[in-house]
Symmetry: C2
Subunit: 399 residues, 2 copies
């Protein structure tokens, strides 16, 4: 009989967003006449920008003729896209060589699969609350030595390193999902210093970097000196360019990340990730990569910026109602997420049901992101304008 991966028995029953989908589906089945507005999953709603659409069509056309047809591409991604991303970093003042950049079908795959290249006996530091994939993907491979770092209203959901605690791997997400909180340069520097002192690796999720509107705030961990010796960065076009359904992300594994194995042999994380991807991945669709490259042109960036401004306006609409109601919230400025305290002391799943049943608005219960989220709730600015306005009008009336 096959031995199964019994670590799966230690996972929570269902992935957060599957549970939300399930509850919403039950509700709409029972109430087919009610208009449900979804501000739950961090999913964009604006169409892809014109020049991305043109590049995607061009990619499809290439597949229609023998002369331009593309078969297997490099598992690491096409050079044209790796170079374009390297240039994009340069524009933000950060030097990242194309060799360090691996194109994928999205940050979720990479943040999940990155566990493959590490051993089982690391001390893993994960903020609470945070994007559930970090915890789940570690539990799945039986890595239970997790130290949670507490993000609360008291520290503005920006926990700082505690030098009395050692870690080998540190997950950081900034701008944060779900709280919208963002570390400044000095704070991130403290994390990099802590990592270097501990010879730890930071797994830095910068999927929301495009929402940073203050140029003094770091959009990449590599804006911090020393980070190339201690950090892997995950990035995505999902939020930057509306690629949630188109699927493209990238991960930076600097060649400087070299550590000793127990036998003293040096192992390069860049080489390991390269081997992992070469063996268990076959590259992202050429069509999608061609579309992705268009994002990094000047025209593409300008068009994406328009969409981001649109979402930032939504965030303001949400925030203004919370302000009016005197509800304490975080995020919403350099982030598409608004993270607020559930009214009337409700716990977050109770509030989820309450809001769904009474205002037909879907949000995300904070409990899904960790213990510290149990009295918080996440709304996203990714809805349409009218829906966002209507949802917040209903919210306004309800409280």
């Amino acid at each position: 009989m096959p031995k199964l991966n019994e670590n799966y028995l230690n996972l929570k029953e269902s992935y957060l967003f599957s549970e939300i989908a399930h509850r919403v589906s039950e509700y709409t089945k029972a109430n087919p006449d009610k208009k449900v507005i979804r501000l739950g999953i961090g999913d964009v709603t604006r169409p892809l920008s014109e020049n991305v659409i043109a590049a995607l069509h061009e990619g499809v056309d290439a597949m229609a003729s023998s002369d331009t047809f593309k078969g297997y591409g490099p598992e690491q991604g096409y050079e044209f896209l790796r170079n374009a991303i390297s240039e994009y970093y340069k524009k933000n003042g950060v030097d990242v060589e194309p060799k360090a950049i691996f194109i994928s079908d999205g940050a979720k795959s990479d943040t999940g699969n990155i566990t493959d290249i590490f051993g089982n006996d690391n001390v893993i530091m994960i903020p609470d609350p945070v994007y559930p994939v970090y915890v789940d993907s570690n539990i799945m491979c039986g890595r239970n030595n997790i130290v949670y770092i507490s993000a609360t209203a008291d520290n503005n959901f920006l926990p700082m390193p505690d030098r009395s605690v050692h870690a080998d791997l540190i997950y950081i997400c900034s701008p944060n999902n779900p709280t919208g909180a963002i570390y400044n340069h000095e704070q991130l520097k403290e994390w990099v210093d802590y990592a270097l002192e501990n010879e730890a690796v930071i797994l830095f999720d910068s999927a929301y970097e495009a929402f940073i509107s203050d140029p003094s705030l770091p959009r990449s961990i590599y804006a911090i000196e020393g980070a190339k010796k201690c950090a892997i960065e995950f990035c995505s076009l999902s939020k930057t360019a509306g690629f949630t359904g188109t699927r493209c992300g990238y991960t930076v594994v600097p060649t400087e990340l070299v550590f000793k194995a127990s036998n003293g042999k040096e192992m390069s994380l860049n080489a390991m990730w390269n081997r992992r991807q070469s063996t268990k991945f076959n590259g992202t669709s050429y069509i999608v990569q061609n579309g992705a490259a268009a994002v990094f042109t000047d025209e593409g960036m300008a068009q994406c910026q328009e969409n981001i401004k649109f979402y930032q306006e939504n965030a303001k609409i949400i925030a203004s109602v919370l302000d009016k109601k005197g509800i304490r919230y975080f995020g919403g400025v350099h982030s598409p997420y608004i993270w607020f305290e559930c009214p009337n002391g409700m716990d977050s799943w109770t509030f989820f049901d309450y809001l769904l049943n009474n205002a037909q608005v879907v949000g995300t219960p904070g409990a899904g992101f960790g213990e510290n989220g149990k009295n918080f709730f996440r709304l996203t600015a990714f809805g349409g304008r009218e829906n966002t306005i209507e949802a917040m009008e209903r919210f306004d009336k309800l409280f």
Copy 2:
């Protein structure tokens, strides 16, 4: 300091096809005037069929407008595609429910990632020679309890179960990569019976099923009675519809596959794979899935069949020269691969270099697929017609 996955130290230096690419690149750099013909990597060269191109454009267009825009899709794939694949199975006389079908970005990802849901202490049976991902992905997670089953010219590269040996997981690839050998109904039945007797799971790779031209040969493991209780099937549009650069595959995990954990609790492999994919994957690009669905229409199947016939004709061209030279070979009928004994007793890497240097033809050395491949060589029928003819003319002159 982070503990790394030191199992990577047990991998062969480089993934087979990376090594080939490296040698070819060195050769072309040194000989820029020579025309190299690549019949090495099993990569298609014919453009996508017209109706797939149309559906891909349609998918892109959907992304251009708010009304039709697609954000995150189901991690398991869109229902329209899961249903279409279920219908495709039905046409081949096999009943597979949509719930068992998981859409992915390709069979390589799934055959690699499937290790995630199994434990570390299984006896794993892997044919030699075979597609290197099976061995490498197991070595990567430290699963060294591998029993190799010997595929040789003596058994026509179709090893049968040895009932004196127990296995928990069994990799089978039919039509086989690299040998082109294919199991018939009776032979596969013997494997299914063996798996049921051992309560083992067969990991069945049917990426090349579309090349089967004899309707009496099984295109799916589920054509065999009892297989749903013991088999997972991996399939791909790479070879069926030329999707090597477009990226789409699917994996069937029947809901019947339920086994007991050590604590007696029943675990469903379908539920486990669903959880794995929900946590570490975010679905295949909508654009690509829309294109993939077009493959399964009557028009799509007819168009794909034309391409497959084209490649089958190439296989005949290759085989006829081997016939003429009296070189023993396998495959090439229900498979795009021709697997032949290296002439003059050469080992396969020596022959690789010899053929590259003297005929500028790239093939795949059998040693890359296992010990039993060390005196064999794989050529693929996926080249263009003129290139295939020219390559075999060069081959003809060389020996």
